[in-house]
């Protein structure tokens, strides 16, 4: 399938292609022309056109796994800084269960200001702020680890194709890396050397996200044997 993907560097206003194609993210149509709206890498595959952006803030999407920081609470919900232009809401029922009562339960006892939480976006549309949930495996308060902030637009690169990049980092350092789609990442590792290596690798991806053969270079930095090249922006 790789041969059918065409890549190009584009800036806003660049005409990617003309003709009948399906529009995906960061493109729009002007007559016959399909034009990029962001700086990034354009991809044409199976009649669809999209641009992978290289800058920009995080826009919540339903089902995204994100990492948020508690910035406060009312009697019914917590508010989260989710590294976006919107504030995330976590209703108290989600944590205490259906029989939550504002008079009986104390929200502060579970999550306090400054706590980091891995959550999933349960619902988001343009009319209201994103609703979060922690009702799933591996979600909830993060007790330990090192927090790293990278550009949200570079998260897909950190994960890699079918998770290749993140698997490489996790296997080489024995670290557990929790990636929030909003650009916040928590790395935890029992071995301090592995922890530092993993952090370095994540930062390296952030700095060099748009360059070719990145997996190869991350591998050599981590001291892993070079395998097949499953990382391609060669064109």
């Amino acid at each position: 399938m790789m041969e059918t993907v065409k890549r190009k560097y584009v800036i806003p206003g660049d005409v990617i292609i003309t003709g009948p194609y399906r529009l995906e993210q960061n493109v729009y149509q002007d007559g016959e022309r399909i034009i990029s709206t962001s700086i990034g890498i354009s991809e044409i595959y199976e009649n669809a056109v999209r641009v992978i952006p290289l800058s920009g803030i995080y826009i919540p999407k339903t089902n995204d796994l994100i990492i948020g920081k508690v910035i406060g609470h009312s009697s019914l919900s917590w508010e989260f800084d989710i590294n976006s232009c919107f504030i995330g809401f976590l209703p108290a029922q989600d944590v205490f269960g259906r029989d939550y009562s504002p008079t009986k339960d104390e929200l502060k006892a579970r999550l306090d200001k400054g706590d980091l939480v891995a959550a999933r976006v349960a619902n988001f549309d343009r009319s209201r702020d994103p609703l979060l949930t922690i009702q799933d495996r591996d979600l909830g308060k993060i007790e330990s680890g090192e927090l790293i902030e990278i550009a949200p637009s570079k998260i897909p690169r950190l994960i890699g194709k079918r998770g290749s990049m993140i698997q490489t980092i996790e296997m080489a350092t024995k670290a557990i890396v929790t990636i929030g789609q909003n650009g916040l990442i928590v790395v935890s590792c029992e071995d301090p050397v592995g922890l530092l290596k993993a952090i370095e690798a994540v930062k390296m991806v952030d700095a060099q996200a748009h360059t070719p053969n990145l997996t190869e270079r991350v591998k050599s930095m981590l001291g892993v044997e070079l395998g097949e090249n499953n990382d391609t922006i060669n064109e």
Partner: protein
Amino acid sequence: MTQLMNENGIRCDGRRIDQIRNVSIKVGVLKNADGSAYIEFGKNKILAGVFGPRDVHPKHMADQDSGILRCRYHMSPFSVTERKNPAPSRREIEISKVIKEALQPAVILKDFPRTVVDVFIEILQADGGSRCAALDAASVALVDAGIPMRDMVSACAAGKVADKIVLDVNDEEDKEGQADMPVAYMPNLGKVTLMQLDGILTPDEYKKCLETAIGGCKQVYEIQKKALMEKYFKNGEA
């Protein structure tokens, strides 16, 4: 009055009539801003910083259906020969408004309801045509911030000096010349987003002046493009 053009058609700063000043743009110069750019347009030195999309304050300005764009054009007290009072003057308020309206058709803020994109432009040194240079920097800074845009906005002025239509008037020509026409243009869509005219032109001169200015915008566009490529794609090949 100084002589603005000699008999060979060379202007007071040594340029030909169809030549723009030297332009250089740097992208991402401010760490704390979401996007930024620094432009040197001849002797103009201008910084532009973009923040957002972010929460709107005051809240009543927010639009439930779309994001809003705000713009501030400000001249530093040391940007001109005589100290300029740092309080926003009538002229700065007007230029802020026209720059905002020149950028508005380019940005797509539909996906960011209840938010604002703030554009701050600081003139460090002024030398005529600063609104055009400011627009060029602001447009690059918006791209750097990752704000979705229909097209880049490139701006350049043209004017009438010593009875000739010239490209990119400088401070001296602006003050002594017969007309000054700043134009902002979306080069891929072929649309004009700003056109002002100070002075008197005949219909034929007007047409020529607009064409000259658009030609200048296209030259500036190439420089903007190069500056962005430099920052984002330096290590790789397309």
